[in-house]
Symmetry: C2
Subunit: 333 residues, 2 copies
DNA sequence: GTGAAAGCGCTAACAC
DNA sequence: GTGTTAGCGCTTTCAC
């Protein structure tokens, strides 16, 4: 440590500026000079100090990523999408989990801004006016990934959660011939989960399926709450013939809960999940699920950010990626 | 953006040095002065520039984390452990996935060092002499997490993979009365997987169980390779009565592969996984697995790093955390 | 208890 | 094509 651009300049008999040009790939350097500098760098084991560079150039080539929980399969996949594109564009990721707590989210944002990140990708359950306020004072672009903001003031990458759930319910309704469909929600404090719920409700209505409030079970996204939901539904006097959930993990819980109850899936009960995580293939019967392209959401978010950062042309700041239903063995008529 | 320590100093009628003292919690400031400064900071909406601070102080309060794949359940959990402790000590995490490619690992290390990270936590399949060389030139502490280095030259946090697998096999052997036990390995280019394999071999030998090379199936850590392994074993003329795998995901594959084959687990086949990820509970029958405390490995690694960084006393640089077997329904005699 | 001033290692005009 | 020279925004002696 300690060898600086100045040492390299001396060793190569050139000025600091020239060394700077070489390490930044500036073309205005005579090949011979470039080589001299390169040799000196090699010889001295020089490693440019990105902190100093950041201070001088006011760019750090790092972006902040605020994520609810990196140990969650869903978000981890999304993070990987972000990361792959980031590294492709030579950005570094400063990653922090927020546990969806607003004060933590805002603190993290602040810390990242202190670190002078060039941009931020935000994932969270809800976007309050405080969020918007904080983001707008950030002076760097902020992108919402898999996160819905009603005001549509921020660039974002999502699927249409409302339509996706609606499609899934309608698909399911066609399998079971006008029977009731139970629904296991994720926590409704998140806008996205609210949208899914609305999609379910509207699909039920439009399909003319029977409905009452008892067909909706409030889950918490955990496997266990899927099991609990199965018990809840199957103990009803007139249990639904199909259950759709807001996440795959809960769907696995529903399947196993039903199986423990002696119910056959899909013969006696159809089950549909949401997200199409790897889990969907790791259960018997395999799980029909609504595909949400997590990796792509991450990748597209990061790509969008790089465009913003490089001043590239942007067609549309509100990106909606396609969803679709992946039919597997947990649904059959 | 743009309000600096200098602006604050002017506003509060003090010098930059005093402002610096205040924001760094230095005690040598008269309370009245401190308050003046605090007011000015508030008024101006001053946010300290961590990059400038990093340049001046030669500390960035950020640590680099090199991880094979953040979208992998196992590593994601570990990352969460790192992160939680890091944020507790006010460090930021620069996170990158290496896909276990050595050149990528070394590149990432280099980039992180350019960013002047205060330390590095490394996870990878193997630690070559090039790694050691690179780490020793880093001039910042490097800690191995869930990563074994034969030379034991670096601080590290692990469980004893050899003993853990041996324990598991011996436990299993007691359930099935001297019958053969099949083993599904993870890729053997990783030291850890090699250790597990050796633990298996030695346990077989010590227990006097039958053995031949056909009882070892080379998996690749994927669910599918678990299914393949099940097919491989069950097609043998004399299939093993128990199968142990190097990872939970493969164990799920084995269970489902066996079930697809019409085999009952655990009545006809005992299955044991490794890592005790959340998956172990998300399968029927639930999976007996060797508990490896991923979160703790991450947390302890990061804690160890903070100790190194703060010059705190360290009892032992090579930490071995306890493992144990969590018995569930996939094993029964 | 507070201030002045010299860097930290680099980039970015601007000059030649 | 190359060099000179200000900074970037802070910390850190060293005085007082």
């Amino acid at each position: 440590m300690g060898v600086t651009i100045y040492d390299v300049a001396k060793e190569a008999n050139v000025s600091m500026a020239t060394v700077s040009r070489v390490i930044n790939g500036n073309t205005n350097v005579k090949p011979a000079t470039r080589q001299k500098v390169l040799n000196a760098i090699e010889e001295l084991g020089f490693r440019p100090n990105a902190v100093a560079r950041g201070l001088a150039s006011r760019k750090t080539t790092s972006v902040g990523v605020i994520i609810p929980d990196i140990s969650n399969l869903f978000f981890a996949e999304l993070a990987r999408g972000i990361e792959d594109i980031a590294s492709m564009y030579k950005y570094h990721i400063i990653l922090s989990s927020s546990d969806q707590q607003q004060n933590k989210e805002l603190d993290l944002l602040d810390n990242m801004l202190e670190k002078q990140v060039d941009g931020v990708i935000f994932m969270g359950s809800s976007v309050t006016s405080e969020h918007i306020e904080a983001f707008s004072q950030a002076n760097v672009p902020v992108i919402l990934a898999a996160t819905v903001d009603d005001s549509h003031t921020l660039p974002s990458v999502n699927i249409d959660y409302y339509e996706a759930m609606k499609d899934a319910v309608i698909h399911l309704s066609q399998q079971i011939d006008k029977e009731a469909i139970g629904f296991v929600t994720s926590p409704l404090n998140a806008k996205i989960n609210e949208m899914k719920r609305q999609g379910y409700l509207d699909a039920i209505k439009e399909s003319g399926l029977p409905f009452n409030e008892e067909y909706v079970y409030p889950g918490d996204d955990s496997y266990q709450s899927g099991i609990d939901a199965a018990n809840y539904f199957l103990n009803q006097t007139n249990p639904p013939k199909a259950i759709i959930t807001s996440s795959d993990e809960m769907a696995l819980g529903v399947i196993h809960g039903a199986q423990d109850y002696g119910i056959n899936v899909p013969d006696d009960l159809n089950v549909v999940g949401f997200d199409n995580t790897r889990l969907a293939n790791m259960v018997r019967p395999t799980l029909t699920s609504v595909l949400q392209p997590m990796y792509d959401i991450g990748a597209v978010s990061m790509r969008l950010l790089t465009k913003l950062l490089r001043g590239e042309e942007i067609e549309e700041e509100q990106v909606t990626l396609p969803h679709r239903i992946v039919v597997r063995d947990s649904t059959k008529n």
